[in-house]
């Protein structure tokens, strides 16, 4: 029987990721790029909203996109027609296909992007309501897309992501008339986990709320950038 000794460690499990996230953030700050970590369940409409956003924003501010997916370049292909700085990061070289982007994966994608040509970089995270919330990637703000087809109770079931969001885009509101979705109850649940969080009702299909969301984006920039 071996004797054992106790060694005190007290090291944050995500410290290594957080350090890389801070390094990413320094690169963003140096380039003057504002960075958004865009998160949602699969199919909530992140890419569709980005398409509407790019149609509306063209010329006003320079948007770049880093697409994160387990596999395929399908999302990047959809955005290619906008001729913006765009890079696809696939997480499947990770352990069986990571369910989220981490700071290192984002770092690996940055070499493909000229940050100086980007006012706002949107990092479209892997569709997943749990895992991406745990991993900082160096973002300035977290924006969540939540679709009304997902039900009213999800903020209570998956509080981590809802708690960490700076803005929630409540998407697919064009479907409300066909659903039993109770908006008041949903907003109450959202308020319970993240008091005072900003939210915008959107429909990527009809364009509702896209104007307001674009104004929110434009307000992220220092005033001189919009002159």
């Amino acid at each position: 029987m071996h004797r054992t000794a106790v060694k005190v460690v007290l090291e944050g499990v995500l410290d290594a990721n957080d350090a890389l996230a801070r390094a990413n953030r320094e690169r963003f700050d140096q380039a003057g790029t504002y960075v958004i970590n865009l998160m949602s369940s699969p199919g909530a409409g992140k890419t569709a909203l980005l398409e509407r956003t790019l149609e509306r924003l063209r010329g006003n501010l320079r948007l770049g996109v880093l697409e994160g997916d387990v596999q395929t370049t399908l999302d990047a292909d959809r955005l290619a027609r906008f001729h913006i700085p765009l890079v696809q990061v696939n997480t499947d070289p990770g352990f069986g296909g990571e369910c989220h982007l981490d700071a290192n994966m984002v770092r690996s994608g940055l070499s493909e992007l000229s940050l100086r040509d980007i006012d706002i970089l949107v990092i479209e995270n892997v569709g997943n309501l749990v895992c991406p919330a745990e991993f900082k990637v160096g973002e300035d703000a977290r924006v969540m897309v939540y679709s009304v087809t997902e039900g009213e109770e999800k903020p209570l079931k998956y509080p981590l992501m809802f708690r960490s969001a700076d803005l929630v885009l409540v998407n697919k509101v064009d479907l409300l008339e066909h659903l039993d979705f109770d908006m008041e109850q949903f907003l109450g649940n959202l308020e319970a986990v993240n008091p005072g969080v900003s939210r915008i009702l959107t429909s990527a299909r009809t364009g509702q709320g896209v104007e307001e969301w674009c104004s929110w984006l434009e307000r992220r920039l220092p005033a001189q950038r919009l002159a």
Binding site: H2, R3, T4, A5, V6, K7, V8, V9, L10, E11, G12, V13, L14, A16, N17, G94, F95, G96, E98, C99, H100, D102, V130, C131, A133, E134, F135, P155, L156, Y158, P159, L160, E191, A192, V193, P195
Partner: protein
Amino acid sequence: MHELAIADSVVQIASRHANGRRITKVRVKVGHLRQVVPSALAFSFELVAEGTPVEGAELEMEEVPAVGVCRECGVESRLGNFPLQCGACGGFDLEVLRGEELLVESLELEEV
């Protein structure tokens, strides 16, 4: 299943601190407000520990209860499920003091 990435990080931290010695136990603290599923973490830990100094080590998880201080009445209380609410006055404006931890606390190492 981000527990896999978390387990991977736990194993890396433990291996680094072990200095080549065999590890028999890894103690981690997980805050109540994190979304870590203990069984998923235990399963992932076993998987990624294979072939490392951590292989065969026991993973001991301690849940840290959530505690917050109320910005209205100033009382510190234990927080349950959402909505997080002050145990004294029922207020919702709270500063979370504990419950968001995710750290490797200590290791048990075999002495040579």
